[in-house]
Amino acid sequence: MFSTSMSWHDLGFVLQGAGVTLAVTFWAILLGTVLGMLFGLIRAVSPWWIAAPLGVVLDVPRSVPLLIQLVIINSFKSIIGVNASPFVVSCVVLGIYASAYCSEIVRGGILAVPTTTRRAARSLGMTYWQDLKEIVFPMALRVMLPSWIGLTLGVMKDTALVLWIGIIELLRASQIIVTRIQEPLFVLTVAGLIYFAMSFPIARLGAWLEKRWQEND
């Protein structure tokens, strides 16, 4: 018969960590999506001498390992004397990291809208911004959704790295329990199941939206 020394109290502690994971994911994705939309739009519609430098800048958070970014920014914050909690630092660093990927998704989505469709909109007398709002964004959204869902799930797993700057999220909370009760296999299985339980609804929501849209398009 299976038995464990992991108590309900321990599980509560792990679930609290899961709450932190969700919170970091939420803020990082919110920031990343807003910035990513902006950067992606700029990269898709502006002349090369604006688009190209922005692309290079956004390559930095995509190329440097997230762990290094977290530690550097967290130390840098102390050096320049900004009073931000590790939680805020985590959300900002992950947010910028997500925005770099998101801008790529948005740019691809916008460029996937055929020029001829945009011309049709403009020839009806719609302005540049009306064309973007009424035609380009709704069409691009359908292209972007699957990649955006993938990005959200990726960021949720990447939040595990914030334990390195002292945040007790799901993985760190599990490690603490493991250290005490010495049952790594069981505790990590529980943690893995919780990650899955958080990701699954997002993945299903994406699949559902995609299917609904495809019935029309």
């Binding site: 001829t116 469709t117 011309r119 049709a120 909109a121 020839s123 009806l124 007398g125 009306q130 069409m139």
Partner: protein, 240 residues
């Protein structure tokens, strides 16, 4: 009226229009025929300012299309254009496709825009398809929807850019019928087409484009029935 005065248009080093002049009166139907790459479609794009010109000018009801201070968005309201690719807005239903521009551009209320859209869609025979998404329509139906979408703006002029070229042969007829209906209602139209028989039937005048110029122009009986230029004769022989 539309006055095209000696327009020149180049894409890079390739000169597509080499001095084209053409006047289209109110109520007139002018068909434009000619080989691929002869500049027919480019001329249409220049008329509503989707393409810039390097020389010459185009006046629509006296307004210079390419003048710096011309409000192109406003000008385009009275020039409807339908393309070879019908360019449906895939995320909107047929009815919403037709309602969008009247609502956003003309500021019509939902009820007004819907009433006009239903009328136009009925005119082109799509009254049964209002709530359907464009992907569920055949090519011919999508093209008729595109015509209704342009007509819902109540334009004074309609430009047609090879609107049957991308259609299966059995669907061409229904779209041509729609154009016939428009011409019988007195719509001013410029029709770029490869349908020579149709051009002969509906046009007041036919213009034959060749290498960026209007090579021959006149009544259909003249240009199609009894062409004078060797290039026109050769072209007609190749397509008929």
């Amino acid at each position: 009226m539309i006055e095209i005065q000696d327009i020149h248009k180049s894409f890079g080093s390739l000169e597509v229009l080499k001095g084209v002049s053409l006047n289209v009166e109110k109520g007139e139907v002018v068909s434009v025929i000619g080989g691929s790459g002869s500049g027919k479609s480019t001329m249409l794009m220049c008329i509503n300012g989707l393409e810039k010109i390097q020389r010459g000018r185009i006046l629509v009801d006296g307004t210079d299309v390419h003048a710096r201070n011309t409000d192109l968005n406003k000008l385009r309201r009275k020039i409807g254009i339908v393309f070879q690719q019908w360019n449906a807005f895939p995320h909107l239903t047929v009815l919403e496709n037709v309602m969008l521009a009247p609502r956003k551009v003309l500021g019509r209320s939902r009820q007004d825009a819907e009433a006009v859209a239903v009328q136009r869609l009925t005119d082109v025979g799509l009254a049964e398809k209002l709530k359907v998404y464009p992907s569920k329509l055949s090519g011919g139906q999508q093209q008729r929807m595109a015509i209704a979408r342009a007509l819902a703006m109540e334009p004074d002029y309609m430009l047609f850019d090879e609107v049957t070229s991308a259609l299966d042969p059995q669907l061409v007829g229904e779209v041509l019928d729609t154009l016939r209906m428009l011409s019988s209602k007195g719509m001013t139209m410029i029709v770029v087409t490869h349908e020579i028989a149709f051009a002969r039937e509906v046009s007041d005048r036919v213009a034959f484009f060749h290498q960026g110029r209007i090579h021959e122009i006149g009544s259909p009986e003249h240009v199609i029935g009894n062409p004078q230029q060797p290039e026109t004769i050769a072209f007609l022989k190749s397509v008929l």
